[in-house]
C-alpha cells in the first residue's frame, strides 16, 4: 500500500461504489477550488457545505480540509482508491437497503480488503442469495445454486413422497365445521 494511503483509516461504509469515489473526488476538487478562491480573495478560509459522504470520510480519517497538504493527501488517497481498490460486482434478487449494503461492505473491507468497492446489480431470477463477480471469478451464492447442489437430496425426498402417495389409499374428502369460540 502506498505511504499516502497508509495514513488513512479507510473509506466510510456509505462509500460503496466507484461512482461514490468519483463523486468524492469531484467534491474535493470543488472544495479545493472554493478554498483557493477564498485565499485569492483574502477571505477567511471556510469550508463550503459538504455532502454526507465527505463528512463521514473526514470524520473517519480525522482530516482538516482547510489544510492544503491534507487535501492533497486526500486527493492522492482517492486517486489510489479509484485506481487500485478491488471491485466486486454483487447481484441481489431485490434492491438492497443501505443498511444491508453497509453490512456487506463492512464484512468485505474487514475480511477481503479495507478499500473494497462494490457495484450492486439486480437480478430477480436468483430468488435468494447473491451472485458475486470478481475480476476473474464468478461466485454463485444463489438459492438455485444451493438447490442444484442438493438436487439428489431433493430428488430422493420427492421420490419417497411419490412412493408414499402411490401406496397410500386416497382419503375421502372431509369437511371441517367451523366452531364458534
Amino acid at each position: 500500500m502506498a505511504p499516502e494511503v497508509e495514513r488513512f483509516v479507510g473509506l466510510p461504509l456509505i462509500v460503496v461504489t466507484p461512482v461514490d469515489v468519483g463523486r468524492l473526488v469531484r467534491e474535493l476538487e470543488t472544495i479545493d477550488n472554493a478554498l483557493l478562491q477564498q485565499e485569492l480573495q483574502k477571505q477567511e478560509a471556510k469550508l463550503p457545505k459538504t455532502t454526507r459522504f465527505m463528512d463521514e470520510l473526514i470524520d473517519l480519517n480525522k482530516l482538516n480540509l482547510l489544510d492544503k497538504a491534507e487535501r492533497l493527501r486526500l486527493k492522492q488517497f482517492l486517486a489510489v482508491v479509484k485506481q487500485r481498490a478491488p471491485l466486486l460486482h454483487v447481484s441481489f434478487g431485490a434492491d438492497p437497503s443501505s443498511i444491508f449494503v453497509e453490512k456487506v461492505v463492512d464484512w468485505l473491507r474487514e475480511n477481503i480488503h479495507p478499500l473494497t468497492l462494490m457495484t450492486i446489480g439486480l437480478q430477480p431470477t436468483i430468488g435468494a442469495g447473491c451472485l458475486i463477480r470478481t475480476t476473474n471469478k464468478y461466485f454463485d451464492f444463489s438459492l438455485s445454486k444451493h438447490l442444484g447442489e442438493n438436487r439428489e437430496l431433493l430428488m430422493k425426498a420427492l421420490r419417497e413422497s411419490i412412493a408414499t402417495t402411490a401406496t397410500t389409499p386416497p382419503q375421502p374428502a372431509t369437511q371441517t365445521a367451523e366452531v364458534a369460540a
Partner: protein
Amino acid sequence: MTIWWLVVVLGFLGAAGIAFIWLAVRIGSAGVGSGKNRTDSLLEDSERDVEHIFNDEFREELRNRGRLHFEKIIGENAMFLQQDLRLTTSQLNEYMKTEITHKLEAEFEKYEQSIMDAKQLAVESIQKTNTAIDEQRQVMGRELQQEIIAEKQQIVQRFEQNMTDIINHYVLAAIGNQIDLNDQLEFILADLEMNRQAIIEDITHGA
C-alpha cells in the same frame, strides 16, 4: 322305333312293286313256245285271253285298286309317321328338358360352388384383414406405450434436470415478495466466508 317302322313300310312297298313287275314280265314271256304254229296259236290264244282278261276296264280296276291301296298304305304310314313324329317330338322335348335341367343344375351347382368359393375367399380375406388389423393395433399399442413411457421418462428427466429452476421459480412466485434481504445476510456472509480465500486470491493475483 319310328325309323324301323319307316324302313319296314318302304320295304313292303318295294316288294310289292317288284312282284308286280315280275308278274308283268312273266305274263309277257309266257307266249314264246316250242312250235311255231302251236306257238303262234297259243300266242294268239293268249293274246286273246290277255286281251279278254286284261282289258282296259280290268286294267283300270287294277290301277284304281293299286292307287287306293297305295294311298291307304301311304295314309297309314303317314299316320304312323305322325304318331312316331309326335312321340319322338315329345321324347325329344322330354330329353331336351331333362338335359337342359341337368345342364342348368350342373351350371347352378358350379355357380353356387363358385359363389361359395368367392364367399370363402372373401371370408378368409376379411379374417386375414382382421388379423392384420389386430396385429397392427397391438404393434401400434406397444409402440404407443413405449413412446408414452419414453415421453414420460423424458419429461421426468427434464423435470429432474430443470428441477432447480422449477423450484426456484415456484419459491419466487410463492414467497418472492416475502423474502427479505436482511434475513439472508447471515447466509450470504457465511457463503462469503467460505469463499473468502478464493476471493482474496483473485483480488491479489488477478489482473
